[in-house]
Symmetry: C2
Subunit: 343 residues, 2 copies
Amino acid sequence: VTGPAVADVLRRVLAERRAEIADIDARLLPQVDRIIGFVLGGGKRLRPQFLWWGWRAAGGPARGHRAEAALRAAASLELIQASALVHDDIIDNSETRRGEPSMHVDLGVSAAILLGDMALVWADDMFHAAAADLEAGAEAAGAWAGMRTEVMAGQLLDLHVSQYPDAEPLAQAEDARRVNRFKTAAYTVERPLHLGAALAQADPALISGLRRFGQQVGQAFQLRDDLLGVFGDAEITGKPAGDDLVEGKHTVLLAAARSAIIDPVLLAELDNGIGRAVANGGSPELTERLAAIIAESGAVQFIEAEIAQLMATALAELDGLPLPPDAAAALRDLAGAAAARIH
Amino acid sequence: VTGPAVADVLRRVLAERRAEIADIDARLLPQVDRIIGFVLGGGKRLRPQFLWWGWRAAGGPARGHRAEAALRAAASLELIQASALVHDDIIDNSETRRGEPSMHVDLGVSAAILLGDMALVWADDMFHAAAADLEAGAEAAGAWAGMRTEVMAGQLLDLHVSQYPDAEPLAQAEDARRVNRFKTAAYTVERPLHLGAALAQADPALISGLRRFGQQVGQAFQLRDDLLGVFGDAEITGKPAGDDLVEGKHTVLLAAARSAIIDPVLLAELDNGIGRAVANGGSPELTERLAAIIAESGAVQFIEAEIAQLMATALAELDGLPLPPDAAAALRDLAGAAAARIH
């Protein structure tokens, strides 16, 4: 399935929801159009693609009414994503998103909370309508319930470990991995695959195999995100370079750097520098210096090696699953794209 | 159905969700227990009761597996309510709720956003599982979708008319009524009745009749809320007396007072006094003086007359519906309680 196909489904469903809003009060349309535009403006459609290929991997048809329902279920993930990003930007004090002012900067925190809520309930409506059309049953509903609880719990955990960070680098890395797993990895790869396969009534063994593959790929995706958050190009990420440093994110990358740096003076420079960046927004000079400290620690190679290891495990898992050849090839490509963030 | 029966269902379902959170990370339990405690500590269970009696009105059984599923659907409304209150308190800067610090005062805005999100998705999971057990179909799913969109749109509209109030009292009253209808009335009475009847596969005529009854009762409920927001006892409301004034809420009551006051000096005292109360939190002397101005305007009698009129219309509508006698009696009692807020 292609990004434009996902966008077409979203455009059609959101036009119906927009008409409901217009019936309630047309003065709401400028704000509601902001969240609709945000959803339609999304780029990679990575999560819908993983759901789609989980569906195809389990023998779901590529055309016809059932395929259209699966595509609607896939597209609903973009609304979950939009809700999570809008609320997350409030929580993280992120001022930009996709190179533009984030929703709460533009419309205020109150409207951003409500527009995030609206995207969240529309996601549910869209998914459940598709699942009902497919007579999908308890497995798909359970995956949907589990996914959203994991995302919220992962966000809460992120908040908790940011407020009460463990000073010990290994424990800090463990916490960062756990946040990654629940906050991002689960709803990016593992659960979309689970949902797609469950909607196609896959057998439990195939679902388990796809989920194991998805766990590895999801972790690789998030480790790539850690690298982009410090060294990334604003053109690719839509966020200023070094944004993770300015937000004081407790990433696996940072924990790896702190663990690798032996010189206490350098470690203090890193920790104090991040404290200053968080406090005052961080000058380009400061974030460049901090990025250099992290790079020189060897943490980048460490993370790249971990990504490579995760991908090798994931692809070996994939090879062991009884998949149609086109689904196997598509999942291999998608996994590579997720870990490299090339699109 | 009784409040304790609703609480039992919530306790059982939320214990399962709590176990999922414990599996993700036990450090989250203190925060998650706050939202669970908030849901379990709710009092009136008015919304679940309207859903239940919509179900019974349409011939749904009082006992057995189907009744248990209807009760779960009813109880899920308490999670919608919890989510709306937690997010609303952030938006309104409300410091207290049920006589205690509101969630964001206690845990911070970020955690309160996420806990409200969690309640919202758990509501969906709970409702959809119950609807699936009842094989309820599109009518119930449509009512659920419509209800949540109305709540969010009503909150957005409240925000909009607070930021850009119409200076003209009649237009202001019209806006306040529209906010009431979507933000509160719909998910308090009309949609719960709709949901209960749809879950019991009611015919369209009965659903329409119950919804018309519910619209009137819901408006009466919200007008009573307006009166309690200015003249209410903190023991009953869980909020300080005059809280609506301090929050600068644009209520129908206030619009009625502004419309009734002819003396421009008195009107200026009211408007400027509310401005001061919003700016500095409002001394008891100030809110008492403002309440006295509103009372002396005759607006209270105007609102009481409107409540009486709404209730007369609602009960006439109810009398015209072909309902089982116990359901008719229960709906009559519930409507009276909603309009009087006696429990």
